[in-house]
Structure formats: structure tokens, C-alpha cells
């Protein structure tokens, strides 16, 4: 299957055995009190919570891009991402859908970000979402199995079975 992001400029194609559903939409039903990640992707061995921001989208308003990039660089966005992940996790837990390890991927359509910055953003996000429990020991139940911050280049390099393409180019 394939899906196109809300902004309409990134298309992600998934292998046959992988299913994605839009999570942050009108069917969520609790958006007045719970934040939500954009998509939930279910694979055989894991579940991925996927959040997407696309400042490189030619249709994106420059003022919004500026605000987003400022939030990204300052690390302020990590706080928002943390809340989105936690609320989405609780929602899915309450629905009984958290048996598989859950990973959090943040796809940023911003090719200006290089590996150094992606590492830093990944580390920063990880610091908000503890992979390990108190005193660095594993949780009895996994909360978040892994975090990744990627741009389109990194996504396509690392996830060759999930090609992401920009439609406007």
C-alpha cells in the first residue's frame, strides 16, 4: 500500500505485509484531550508511530517553516513530540494494541539537515522518551523501543523497503 501525507507532497510506499492507518484524524475521537501522531504503521515485528513535518514542501508557508525550524533547532518540538507519543501510546494501550514493540519515527522533509543534526535531534528526542526505565534498567514492559529522526534522504537510505518520494519534484 501507499499513502500520501496530509500536505500532499510526500508519498510513502509500504511493502505488502505492512499496514498504515491515519491516526490523527476525525476518527480519533479524543483530540480535545489527547494529542496524536500522524500515522500508525503496523509491521510483522513492530509498530511504528510516525510523525511527519514537511518544511521543504513548496506549498508550505514560509512563516510556518520558520516557526517550525526554530522550534526544531531549539528542541522545543521534542516536548510536543513527547506528548504526541505518550498520548498515542495510552490510546493504543487502552485499545489493547500495544503487544508489539513500538518505535517512534519522526520524518522531517528538510534536506538542509545533515547527519550531525539528525543525530542530535534523535538524541534529544530520546532524552524525552525513555527507552530504559529508572536507573537505566529495562522496563518490565517496553514503552518505546526506539526513536529515529530522519529526513527524506536518510529515510530512503535506511528504509529501502519503504521508499518515500517527494511528489513536487
Amino acid at each position: 500500500m501507499a499513502f500520501i501525507t496530509d500536505d500532499g507532497d510526500i508519498k510513502i510506499t509500504l511493502p505488502d505485509h505492512v499496514v498504515a492507518r491515519r491516526f490523527d484524524d476525525s476518527t480519533h475521537g479524543l483530540s480535545h484531550c489527547m494529542k496524536a501522531v500522524d500515522y500508525i504503521i503496523e509491521m510483522k515485528e513492530r509498530i511504528v508511530f510516525l510523525e511527519i513535518k514537511d518544511p521543504d514542501n513548496p506549498k508550505a508557508k514560509s512563516e510556518n517553516c520558520t516557526i517550525f525550524l526554530k522550534s526544531l533547532r531549539s528542541g522545543k518540538i521534542d516536548s510536543e513530540l513527547k506528548t504526541k507519543f505518550r498520548d498515542s501510546f495510552l490510546y493504543e494501550w487502552a485499545c489493547g494494541r500495544t503487544e508489539k514493540p513500538i518505535h517512534f519515527w519522526f520524518l522531517i522533509g528538510a534536506e538542509m539537515l545533515d547527519s550531525g543534526q539528525l543525530i542530535r535531534r534523535t538524541e534529544s528526542l530520546k532524552s524525552q522518551l525513555p527507552i530504559y526505565g529508572p536507573a537505566g534498567k529495562p522496563w518490565k514492559n517496553t514503552f518505546v523501543a526506539g526513536c529515529l529522526v530522519m529526513n527524506l534522504s536518510a529515510w530512503n537510505k535506511q528504509l529501502i523497503d519503504f521508499p518515500a518520494t517527494r511528489l513536487s519534484t
Partner: protein
């Protein structure tokens, strides 16, 4: 004054054939260890040092020997292939300036083994137009300055001349006035970063702050390095028209200070200082990319070997994103790949 515009090397140290064109502003040399970044700085520095001060009467060859300090003082050891050092194989160095002057050195000359010659003009015409310059080496030397110059004058010590030269420049008395308000701002920013001012007692440097006077041997190395920059601004060594060679400015500096270093270098470039620096540091490189303004002249020169045993090649660009190969960013690519792998596998 005149900027350095071009360097050609043939069969010199790790270079079989190198032809570099330089920016009038900042030239950033990157590459893994052993790709000749420091050699380029030294070759150019020698060409500047023979045009001013004590070095004005020296031959290029003689200064080259002092700056490179080859074993036994044998300049033939600077030839690229070790086996060729004993054979009739030579090397050449050609440096050009924007005033039309050219300095060309051929280790064989027209006479054969180990005889140097100038193949164009002559050294006198090159030295007619002074090239004020400073070479800041990786190792910090101000803490070791007391007695060093007199020791070097009397004894054979295994220190390259760049160390003696930079200490002598640090000892120069301060200018009565700085050249312009931009220099005053640079000076003020550096003063703030070091937390005071540098004073000299005899041959000993001290940092004078509100807390008192601290000798350089007790000062953090990063602060000593910034203090040297402070001194060179204060005494006019980095006035407009001069050339700064800085080998690994990041050495011993906390990354949080590199923004100030880059801002200082960019401002000096705007004031007409030509700058050559080497770096292994991602933060320094990225700071240039982020702080550079539209009219700033910054050129990145990547030095690399296609294969391990190959001579060093180069690629120059004025766009950070076009640096290729980028040995520093490449390291981060590897780290990021490992980070992704760990995240995906849960290891």
C-alpha cells in the same frame, strides 16, 4: 599587500600534483589525517615570512627548512616518495599573488640533485611587497614562552620555527589604536570570552581578571588560545591586509566557543585579512556554513586520497553542501547509520 591566489605543488610531501586556487577571504582545509593540510599552511606561511621583519633577508629554502624541520635539515626529505629522496627526483612549489608576483621553487633547479632555484622573477621582487602574516600552530606555546626565544637562539632544539615566530609576535607591543570600530568589537568580544586582559611581566604572560592575575601555565588551554588571538588583534598582527594561518583552531577549545572563533574569523575576513585554516571539527565547519553572510568569501578545500596509497587530490567549493568528500560529515554519517541500526534492531 596582495593576497595569495594560487599554490601549485609537484612531488612535494604527500602531493604528486596539486593546483589550488584560493579565496581572498577564508580558506578552510579539511581532510583526514595525513592529507597534507598543515603542509599547505606551512608552504604558504614561508612565502609570507620571507617578505617581512627578520625573515626578509632569508631564502625561501632556508625558511622552508626551519618551518618543516626535516631530519638533518635535508630538504630532499620533503620529496614525495621516500625512496626517491636519494635519487635525482625533485619537487617544486609555485605560489602566486594577486599583484602578479610569483614565487617558484624547484628543488632540482637546472643543476641537478638538491639544488634549489627560482625559476621566475626573483625572490627580491616577491619580497618587495610585504605579506604580514601569523601562523598559529596546534600546540599552544604562550605558557612555554619564557626563555624560549633565547634558548632557541643559542641551542639546536627540535621545534619548528612556527613556534618561535608566534611567540615573537605575541610579544609585540600593543597598538596605540585599533584600526577601526570592527576591530574594537572583535577585541571586546574576545576580552569578554577570556574574562579580562592579557598582561606581560618580563617574558611571562598572565590573564588579568577581576579575580586577579593568573599565569598562563595555570590557565585552561582553550583560554590560552583565545588569549593569543586577543594579543594578535591588540598588537596589529592581524590588521587589514595580513594573512592568518591557523592550524586546527578547535584544538583544546570547548565547542561552545567555536561560534565566537568563526564570527571573529569572518569579521577579520570582512576587514581584508586572508585566512587559511585546517579543521577536523564538525562544529567549526558548520558554524561557517550557518554564520556566513552573502558577501563573505569562504572556500572549502577537501583533501583526500582515492585509495590509501594514492597521492592526495583536492576538491574546492564555496558551498558547504558541495564539499566532497567531506571527511568530517562522513564521520557523522557513519555515526548516524550506527544510531539508526541500533534503533531498528533494538540493540
Amino acid at each position: 599587500m596582495g593576497k595569495i591566489t594560487r599554490l601549485e605543488l609537484e612531488n612535494f610531501t604527500c602531493f604528486a600534483k596539486l593546483d589550488l586556487e584560493f579565496s581572498n577571504g577564508v580558506n578552510v582545509l579539511i581532510g583526514v589525517s595525513g592529507t597534507g593540510k598543515t603542509h599547505i599552511l606551512k608552504v604558504l606561511y614561508v612565502a609570507c615570512a620571507i617578505t617581512v621583519g627578520e625573515g626578509k633577508d632569508r631564502d625561501y629554502m632556508d625558511k622552508l627548512r626551519g618551518v618543516f624541520s626535516p631530519y638533518g635539515g635535508e630538504l630532499q626529505r620533503l620529496c614525495r616518495h621516500p625512496l626517491a629522496r636519494d635519487a635525482l627526483t625533485g619537487y617544486s612549489i609555485t605560489i602566486a599573488r594577486d599583484n602578479g608576483h610569483k614565487l617558484a621553487y624547484d628543488s632540482l633547479g637546472n643543476k641537478g640533485f638538491n639544488v634549489w632555484s627560482w625559476s621566475t622573477d626573483d625572490q627580491l621582487s616577491w619580497a618587495e611587497d610585504a605579506l604580514e602574516s601569523v601562523y598559529i600552530p596546534v600546540k599552544e606555546m604562550l605558557a612555554h614562552a619564557p626563555g624560549f626565544i633565547s634558548l632557541n637562539a643559542r641551542r639546536e632544539i627540535a621545534f619548528e620555527e612556527i613556534y618561535v615566530d608566534v611567540i615573537k609576535q605575541a610579544y609585540l607591543p600593543k597598538l596605540k589604536t585599533l584600526p577601526n570600530p570592527s576591530y574594537e568589537k572583535i577585541f571586546k568580544d574576545l576580552s569578554k570570552a577570556i574574562g579580562g586582559e592579557v598582561i606581560l611581566k618580563g617574558e611571562h604572560f598572565f590573564l588579568k581578571t577581576e579575580q586577579g592575575e593568573l599565569e598562563f601555565s595555570l590557565l585552561a588551554e582553550g583560554l590560552r588560545k583565545l588569549s593569543l588571538a586577543w594579543l594578535l588583534i591588540q598588537n596589529g598582527s592581524l590588521n587589514p591586509g595580513s594573512i592568518l594561518f591557523w592550524d586546527e583552531p578547535e584544538a583544546n577549545l570547548n565547542p561552545s566557543l567555536l561560534g565566537l572563533v568563526v564570527e571573529t574569523l569572518l569579521e577579520l575576513q570582512r576587514q581584508g585579512v586572508q585566512i587559511f585554516l585546517t579543521t577536523h571539527n564538525y562544529v567549526l565547519l558548520k558554524e561557517f556554513d550557518l554564520r556566513k553572510k552573502k558577501d563573505d568569501a569562504v572556500r572549502y578545500i577537501s583533501l583526500f586520497r582515492e585509495k590509501d596509497a594514492d597521492p592526495v587530490s583536492s576538491h574546492s567549493t564555496e558551498e558547504y553542501s558541495a564539499i566532497n568528500p567531506n571527511a568530517i560529515a562522513g564521520t557523522f554519517d557513519d555515526l548516524y547509520d550506527q544510531e539508526v541500526k541500533r534503533s531498528l534492531t533494538g540493540a
